[in-house]
Amino acid sequence: MRLWNVFRPIISLFLAERRATLLAGVLLAAVTVLAGIALLGVSGWFITATAIAGASTATALVFDVFAPSAAIRFLSLARTATRYGERLTTHEATLSMLAGLRERIFRSAVQPGTANRLSFQPSRTLFRLTADIDALDSLYLRILVPAAVALCTTLAVAAVFGAMHPLFGLAATAWLLVPGFGIPLLAARWSAQPARRRAHSLEALRSRTIDVVAGQTELAMAGQLQTYRQSALAADARLATSDDALNLIETKVVAGFGIASAILLGGVLYGVAHLVSMGVINGPVAVLGILIALAALESFAGLRRGSIELGRTILAARRLGPDLQASSPPLPSRTPAENHAVELQDASVIYDAFPLPSLQNVSITVQCGERVALIGASGSGKTTLLALLAGEIKAARGLVKCLPNALLTQRTELFQDSLRDNLLLAAPGATDRRLLEVLTIAGLSEFVDTLPKGLDTPLGEGGTGLSGGQARRFALARLLLRDMPLWLLDEPSEGVDGATARDVLDRLASQMTQRTVIIATHIRREAMLVDRLLVLEHGRIKSTFSKGQPEYQRVLDGLRPD
């Protein structure tokens, strides 16, 4: 039942995607296996019957060979056809679910918790997410379909043996069900812990490899290269231990099925021999029974892979399931009073799990059209304050009112897509003319003109293919497309060389009229664009200086020159 609760969100997502295809896949898979069993059974019956009939010429002549031989041919062709159909249907279903799963995961990742984890440990989180998605991808194909097939087989076998003798049918069914499902369930239980350990060890091996390779200099200088190397190898040793445990379980499953199948085979042989000697069934039917028993447990072998992976799949379902169910309510954004762009009253941000600077009782009012710079040493809370205004994070206490806004993040975030599609993110309906317009303002139109593919030029992962300055201008163009009354700019010219930086800032400044702008910065050229300086220290507003005040110039002069 607990198992069901874990998988319910995933299965209901699957069913919502493609109910008919999913069920058809299961049905076809069952028919394939049953056709195989029937083929063997009927063949055995046929040979035995013909052998008995062939003993005397009289019976041999009247024996109807056509119905059984036609059945054998039909079953062999049917098996092939359903196998082909099954593979197509199950893959079609899997691919549909894969589409649905990825969309849902993306939507759930937008929620603040995942988003925070992502920004904090991107590669670890993404690595784990990919592994989880892969594990869920196999839920249908490796677990649900084989389980359903095994169940169908049991029912069919129960019917055939039950027709021979009810007690015999009952015994055979019990013997199929108990080891058939008992062994995989036991295996799933046993494998849960090693599977989890395996996942963790693999993550550890990954991060320690990075530590040894990327941190080599620090380690060599501290004389700790050997220690870290050993710890990476220790991660592999732990990985090997869990691999070994999982392989042992898998081997036990296979051996268990083998032994169960041998006992079933012997038991059925004994049973049908007994029934024949009692005269309940005849020889050919007895042989049919033996061959069905031979094929029946093979359908359970399909559960082998799935039962080993069940532990991993449960882990993935536990991690992703709750997110998939919850629909994300957008953070409520309250509108400030007229003429005000931002109102903060005693706003505090507390991070417990994430070592980011927090904010303490910050109160600010920003007028519409005003330009404000947040300055302060690194770690004083500038980025956190912008994130709070952008709605990326919630205030633990206090009141936040803010106009709709656009955030220019510190690191330019571009995507693996064409230039056009990167821009359209900001305004899905924009025409090419409009795109070229904003590119001109951002100073990129000449560059785009030189590209052979123009706006269709693809960018690499994370937007590689543009220089730092070009990427920054591109982000500016996207900001313009968004056309918001409030701009939140996080170090807009950081990481760009002097001349380019001034050009980007000039272009930004020319678009700032009619807008309220808040800039987080520690560079003088950026702070010079504003009317008011807010100095942050340890998450508090320490002082405020307006243009014209003597301290204003003094604070400006204290900033980094370029």
């Binding site: 063949s43 046929f46 040979i47 035995t48 019957a49 052998a51 062939g54 041999a60 062999s76 098996r79 092939t80 082909y84 593979r87 197509l88 893959h91 589409a99 990825r102 969309e103 993306f106 939507r107 990742a109 992502l118 904090f120 440990q121 590669s123 993404l126 991060s207 490899t209 990075i210 530590d211 390779v213 990327a214 620090e218 060599a220 200088m221 700790q224 050997q226 220690t227 190397r229 190898l233 296979v254 051996a255 099925f257 083998g258 032994i259 199948s261 085979l265 042989l269 021999a273 000697s277 020889g283 033996i290 061959l291 994430f354 070592p355 656009a406 995507f415 599609d421 900033l559 980094r560």
Partner: protein, 585 residues
């Protein structure tokens, strides 16, 4: 069969080749997995599995005999046949389990050996080796891609052996009874690989493309997740989600178009296997009825013989089915082995890189640095970065290496730290020549403040003491105090730091590097690379103060282009394009 053996032999030779120089170079690294030859017991594994499969022959014969006995009505015979069928079945299951375990252990050991080789090879290469693979690539090959070796060695190779031997074994049993049945099986078996090959070449391309596009889909998702803040800020969540869905649907339609053809390959296998069984069954049936008299070497088959042949027919195709199920393991397994071998190719070695542990005491002598006629060029580069460069740093002197970016300031620091071998010339630390033998001992007296400090997976304290057992909490506290990092450390005491230091500001990362250097109290030479770059003025000033306080009475060499910092040193050495040596102050 012979190809299986030759591959394994080849494998053994290759791994032996890789081990030899590595173990000869140092006896400090003694990995048990490197010394044992894992392949030795691996040869037995497939044979055990083949033997297990072949046990089906007597089991099938007994079943046929049992069926004959029950039709003859002899219950007494049935009992011992039942017992024997069960006994052989259990033995078969156990033997197969043994074979699987042997094959797995052997494969897993090879995997560990390969991983060890790669990690050793990478960690001994100099940080200045421009050809050295990036850590991200190394991590994904070592952690993820390498996993593909396991199914390839543990499943594919035994499956291939079974597919070669077992059908022959079955044919040997069937032919003496009936050449027709034998012929039916013999003809359908080679037809399977033939048709599979015909369809397979498209199937292979299809499945590869399918995998690649599947990867693309994950890459799309990961790429967008990385820029989540921007997507949210642009209000493009819904747009992106729909785009993701559309891509996935498109992938489905395209993939299904190719899978329709690709799956024909498995349908052929299924068809021939089913037809083979059907034809054998129908032939035997008609033969037993007396309608097809030929085929049994002039005799009539008995029911027992007929059933025996029928029971062997599915087993004849089983190994082929098994092999086709693991077929794709080969390509990915071979690719993984190749990728790992490529990573373990040796490059420019870091002097003393294999030792990596400070042995014994600090070297004696004063904390002076004496560079004579130093020449260094990057591997493969024509132009030397330094030519006949000379520099003398006296004990306790604080000097700044000033120069434009690319002039080689950082490289010079790395050379002083012995992180790369000099092309020509000598470096002496306190009168000891810096070379492969002395570099580890000499590094013990140096403290390093890198330009981009690597943030290790761990807490702030882990990042400072780097798991050195000779340090206690008091040492860590002292180092934190020197670097003014107590607040951060207190706030984040038990928390793991973010990757690449996310969550730490630029200044805090620099302070962390400072604390890392400060904890090494034995060090009397401090090497600092651009300690103030990209910092605001107040933070930069504070960092320099702390650096100077830490370096009081010690030798300090700072590479920088910050004129303010350079002014505060005793001496400024300008490194120019023509290797000129300018001195100021």
């Amino acid at each position: 069969m012979s190809s299986v053996q030759s591959t394994i032999t080849l494998h053994r030779e290759r791994s032996a080749e890789n081990d030899a120089p590595r173990l000869g170079a140092t006896d400090i690294v003694t990995e048990p997995s490197l010394q044992r030859n894992p392949v030795s017991n691996g040869n037995a594994a497939p044979w055990v599995q083949v033997l297990a499969s072949l046990l089906w022959l007597p089991q099938a014969a007994l079943l046929a005999k049992g069926a004959g006995a029950l039709i003859a009505g002899s219950m007494a015979d049935t009992k011992w046949i039942v017992a024997a069928v069960i006994a052989i079945g259990v033995l078969r299951a156990l033997l197969d389990a043994l074979g699987t375990r042997l094959a797995f252990r052997n494969a897993r050991e090879i995997l560990s050996t390969k991983r060890t080789q790669v990690i050793l090879a990478l960690s001994r290469r100099s940080p200045l080796d421009t050809e050295k693979p990036a850590s991200g690539l190394a991590a994904s090959v070592i952690a993820e891609q390498a996993e593909a070796i396991l199914p390839y060695l543990a499943r594919f190779k035994p499956a291939r052996m079974k597919a070669t031997i077992i059908p022959i074994g079955i044919l040997v049993c069937v032919f003496p009874l009936s050449w027709v049945a034998g012929l039916v099986l013999m003809i359908s078996a080679p037809l399977i690989p033939l048709f599979m090959a015909l369809i397979g070449w498209r199937a292979k391309a299809a499945s590869e493309r399918h995998l690649a596009e599947m990867g693309d889909l994950n890459a799309f998702l990961l790429d967008r997740l990385r820029g989540l803040a921007t997507i949210r800020s642009l209000g493009a969540v819904d747009f992106t989600a729909r785009r993701l869905r559309a891509n996935a649907e498109e992938l489905r339609i395209r993939t299904m178009a190719v899978l329709r053809i690709a799956f024909l390959s498995s349908a052929v296998l299924e068809l021939f296997a089913a037809l083979g069984v059907a034809m054998v069954a129908v032939y035997i049936g008609f033969h037993l009825l007396g309608q097809l008299e030929f085929g049994a070497w002039g005799q009539r088959l008995s029911l027992l013989e007929g059933l025996f042949i029928l029971l062997l027919a599915p087993a004849f195709f089983e190994p082929l089915r098994e092999l086709s199920a693991v077929w794709h393991d080969r390509a990915s397994g071979e690719a993984a082995i190749e990728a790992l071998d490529r990573l373990s190719v040796p490059g420019v070695d870091m002097p003393g890189g294999l030792i990596g542990t400070h042995p014994g005491q600090c070297s004696a002598g004063t904390a002076s640095v004496e560079i004579k006629e130093l020449t260094f060029s990057h591997a493969g580069s024509e132009r030397p970065l330094f030519g006949r460069f000379n520099l003398d740093v006296r004990m306790g002197e604080h000097i700044a290496l000033l120069g434009t970016s690319g002039s080689g300031k950082s490289t010079l620091l790395s050379l002083i730290a012995g992180l790369a071998p000099c092309t020509a010339g000598t470096i002496r630390i306190g009168n000891t020549l810096l070379d492969g033998n002395s570099s580890e001992t000499l590094r013990k007296r140096m403290a390093w403040i890198g330009q981009k400090p690597h943030i290790f997976a761990g807490t702030v304290s882990d990042n400072i003491c780097l798991h050195r057992i000779d340090l206690d909490n008091g040492d860590i506290e002292a180092a934190l105090r020197i670097a003014s990092l107590q607040n951060v450390a207190n706030a984040k005491r038990h928390n793991y730091l973010g990757e690449g230091g996310s969550g730490l500001s630029g200044g805090e990362i620099r302070r962390l590097a400072l604390a890392r250097a400060a904890i090494n109290r034995d060090a009397d030479i401090i090497l600092a690379d651009e300690p103030t770059a990209h910092l605001d003025r107040i933070t930069a000033y504070d960092i320099v103060d702390r650096l100077q306080a830490m370096a009081a009475g010690k030798t300090l060499i700072v590479a920088t282009h910050d004129p303010v910092l350079a002014q505060r040193m005793d001496r400024v050495v300008t490194i120019g394009d023509e290797f000129r040596l300018g001195e100021a102050l």
